[in-house]
């Protein structure tokens, strides 16, 4: 009886301290891959270390600020696997921004305001005085711009361009 107790308590201790305290960040995650292109549509989020699942490893990680992989001087996220929008095919920065922020962009368009939406408008070169109109058009046409959950870069940008105020 006593032995079982010892084993149980020791295992709890062991599991907690060793696996939790010194479990390293998972190899396959980490910000190193955060800017890798993983798709052109919604939900293309890249997994970080799940902040709560290995609590103490998080502590150590935070202190070392370890990143795995090759997060160096990659400024771009890359859109080469995506179909390019017809109107803005050459605007790399716009395309990269949309691919990397599509969920937040959808959220802001539905709300009619927000930083991601403002950034999008700036990259679309919508004059400041026409932005309110642009935001409203986008909100009204939300269902057209984000026509399905499989929507991709090209159609989002092209559909948004279609409702942009005329100069």
């Amino acid at each position: 009886m006593k032995k079982t107790f010892v084993v149980a308590v020791l295992s709890v201790l062991f599991v907690f301290v060793v696996s939790s305290a010194f479990a390293a960040p998972k190899k396959s995650s980490g910000s190193g891959r955060a800017h890798k292109n993983v798709g052109c549509g919604l939900g293309t989020l890249l997994w970080q270390n799940n902040a709560d699942d290995s609590i103490l490893s998080q502590s150590l990680q935070a202190t070392t600020n370890g990143t795995s992989g090759n997060q160096t001087f990659g400024i771009t996220t890359g859109t080469s696997d995506c179909d390019q929008p017809s109107n803005f095919a050459k605007n790399d920065r716009l395309n990269e921004f949309v691919v990397a922020n599509m969920d937040n962009l959808a959220k802001d368009i539905a709300k009619g305001n927000g930083e991601t939406l403002a950034t999008f408008a700036e990259l679309m070169q919508i004059p400041t005085e026409k932005r309110a109109e642009f935001y409203q058009n986008l909100q009204t046409n939300f269902a057209k711009v984000f026509s399905s959950e499989h929507v991709v870069l090209a159609s989002v940008v092209d559909n948004a361009a279609a409702v942009a105020p005329k100069n």
């Binding site: 907690f16 390293a24 991601t116």
Partner: protein
């Protein structure tokens, strides 16, 4: 773009291969006698001007005093043009000037482009006639410069997240703003250790002893915002630096020099926060932050401390707060009725379709807020892998579709007061001088305590997260008047507590772990030194009247030669309440009971009441009272202490 790491398609490679081929067939120009005379003349003049002793040369090469000479903190040999450059500023200066006349590429660029900050500075100091150097367009650098387009700089601090007090140690970054109005389109520069190790012991060990390579990186700021705000649930503080455009440009020149260059990463001192200060010094060499931080006889550098240093040097005037997704959820929820919050949960759990919201008999404002909060929660859950992608996408779009019919609502999140700024809190070191009385031996005592870092649950909360504690190297010594003896009372190597309240939307686990030497009562009725490992986990809740209250189950392992079988292993529980009575008065009432069933079998029960009164940012007074029963022996103690944070 600096380098397009990913996604270069085949024709691009072919193009570069072609260029490479061209560079081989084009005849390399010989260095003429005239050039070499000019070159040696510059080397001589630089020596006469003693530029190798110049402050800016130290900054650009990261030279620090080392013994009688100097040594660069950068390890990568590619950073130096002279083989002895790491330790010899003079030789490095000579080699650098000679390098400007070389057409040999260093990392795909001629040295004058690769080390553009050194070149720019020396050109100005020595009046170098560029027409007498081999011609180069510095194409790569100029592309990067055009892409980043440096105008101003911002110091970025992603603060701690709720359930990981240690992330307070966190990270600092520098953001370089260009011409864009949107901050998201600026670039973030950070310094981090690169690792693929999955063994945690190795990871901690290597981090402590500088066995990882640290690299500078530059990424679009929106990537960093997503990383910290959306995925790691960390609030971001942004401190615009009052650097001019010319100064910011100098910073970028130096960042370019550090591209793909490594240094040994030490997570206590030569870490992200310390290394980034070099960038600020490269922009404005008149401030010296890396020197004082290094000279202050401490072996650690903590991000909030670096923000304090930068602020003391007069570079910071303003601050901007960017709440994390988790914080946004809490902020939006704080503006809502309970019943509306329940609808949000029902939508997220698919019990109520979002399409039902417009038909509810509540104001449009409330409807919009319900859907806004549902959106944030869905994103949050997806980021934490609590939702599958397909489910998330369907729900997310359905909610947004309905939301888009409800018009624009005023952004009232700005009216919610933001938390106190991290650098406004107490400094992270602590000294305690106290006096007290113990019933054990009926003696008065004086206690002296020293803690390396960082914050405990009773320290004043400003700038920190309530309920979060992380103490590193906390040492307490006592002098007992009755027995006329001096004793080590405790030495906690690490002592972490994370009390993260559960609410309708978040269900975090609270936890604690501490290890180190403590004094415990033995069956002889005396206190003896033990080594302890004490982890625990449980739940915490926040109540407007009670404050933060918690309960945990824990195990406790005590090791000591004085115990039967040299150890005692127990299992038990603890509970407590932490209440802020006023802004500067905090109390912590707690009780803990452990049944040691293995080794030296016994029981231990403790109850304590501790209080902290904040006097100023870096001074506080604490009063603690506790009573315990261990091995049928009773002990009570009272102590009054003065805490000074350094």
């Amino acid at each position: 773009m600096f380098t397009k790491v990913y996604g270069a398609s085949r024709p691009v490679y072919l193009f570069f291969a072609f260029l490479l081929l061209l560079s081989f067939v084009s005849p390399s120009r010989a260095v003429f006698a005239e050039d070499s005379a000019y070159r040696e003349d510059l080397v001589k003049r630089a020596k006469e001007m003693r530029l190798f002793e110049d402050r800016y040369w130290d900054v650009l090469l990261h030279y620090k005093r080392s013994g009688s000479g100097k040594k660069s903190l950068i390890t990568d040999p590619r950073f130096f043009l002279s083989p002895s450059g790491k330790k010899d500023p003079g030789a490095e200066l000579d080699a650098t000037i000679r390098g400007f006349f070389s057409e040999e590429n260093k990392d795909e660029e001629p040295p004058r482009c690769r080390f553009i900050a050194r070149y720019t500075w020396l050109k100005e100091k020595l009046g170098i006639d560029e027409t007498r150097l081999p011609a180069t367009a510095c194409t790569k650098f100029n592309e990067a410069l055009a892409s980043v387009n440096p105008k101003s700089a911002v110091l970025i601090f992603p603060a701690a997240h709720l359930n990981s007090p240690a992330s307070m140690f966190g990270h600092t970054l520098i953001r370089i703003n260009g011409d864009f109005q949107s901050d998201l389109l600026s670039h973030a520069v950070s310094y981090a250790a690169i690792t693929d190790d999955s063994n945690g012991f190795l990871y901690a060990f290597k981090g402590l002893f500088g066995l990882y390579k640290g690299y500078y990186s530059i990424l679009p700021y929106y990537e960093k915002v997503k990383e910290y705000n959306d995925m790691e649930r960390r609030d971001i503080w942004e401190y615009p630096l009052n650097l001019s455009e010319a100064e910011t440009r100098k910073m970028l020149l130096h960042i370019w020099e550090l591209k793909e260059i490594y240094s040994d990463y030490y997570f206590f001192d030569e870490n992200c926060s310390y290394e980034l200060l070099f960038l600020i010094e490269a922009a404005r060499p008149s401030v010296d932050m890396t020197g004082p931080l290094r000279d202050r006889m401490r072996f650690w550098v903590i991000p909030p401390d670096t923000i304090r240093v930068v602020r003391e040097d007069g570079l910071i005037e303003k601050v901007k707060y960017r709440p994390s997704q988790a914080m946004r959820v809490q902020m939006i929820a704080s503006l809502m009725e309970d019943e509306d919050q329940k609808i949000v949960l029902a939508i997220v759990k698919k019990a109520v379709p979002p399409q039902a919201v417009p038909g509810m008999s509540i104001s449009n404002e409330r409807k919009a807020r319900i859907l806004d909060l549902a959106t944030e929660l869905l994103q949050y859950k997806y980021a934490r892998r609590e939702l599958e992608k397909d489910d998330y996408l369907k729900q997310f779009l359905a909610v947004l579709n309905v939301r888009s019919t409800l018009g624009t609502q005023a952004n009232d999140l700005q009216s919610i007061p933001q938390p106190s700024q991290p650098e406004e809190g107490h400094r992270s070191g602590r000294m305690v001088l106290g006096t007290g009385y113990t019933t054990l031996g009926k003696s008065l005592f004086t206690e002296v305590g020293w803690r390396a870092a960082f914050h405990d649950v009773l320290d004043p909360d400003a700038g920190y997260i309530e309920g979060g504690q992380i103490d590193f190297f906390s040492l307490r010594g006592r002098y007992y008047f009755q027995e006329n003896t001096l004793r080590l009372q405790s030495f906690r190597i690490v002592d972490i507590v994370s009390l993260s309240p559960r609410d309708m939307f978040f269900k975090p686990i609270s936890w604690k772990v501490n290890t180190g030497f403590d004094r415990e009562l033995f069956r002889d009725g005396q206190e003896h030194l033990i080594y302890r490992v004490n982890p625990g986990g449980g739940f915490a809740y926040q109540n407007r009247i009670l404050g933060l209250y918690y309960g945990m189950v824990e195990t406790d392992l005590n090791l000591s030669g004085g115990l039967k079988d040299d150890f005692a292993l127990g299992f038990g529980a603890s509970a407590g309440i932490i209440k802020k009575i006023t802004d500067s008065w905090k109390i912590h009432l707690s009780a803990r009971s452990i049944y040691y069933e293995a080794g030296d079998v016994h029981q231990s029960m403790k109850a304590s009441l501790t209080q902290n009164f904040r006097i100023s940012t870096n001074n506080s007074v604490s009063l603690s009272l506790w009573r315990e029963k261990t091995f049928y022996e009773y002990q009570s103690e009272a102590m009054l202490g003065w805490n000074y944070y350094f």
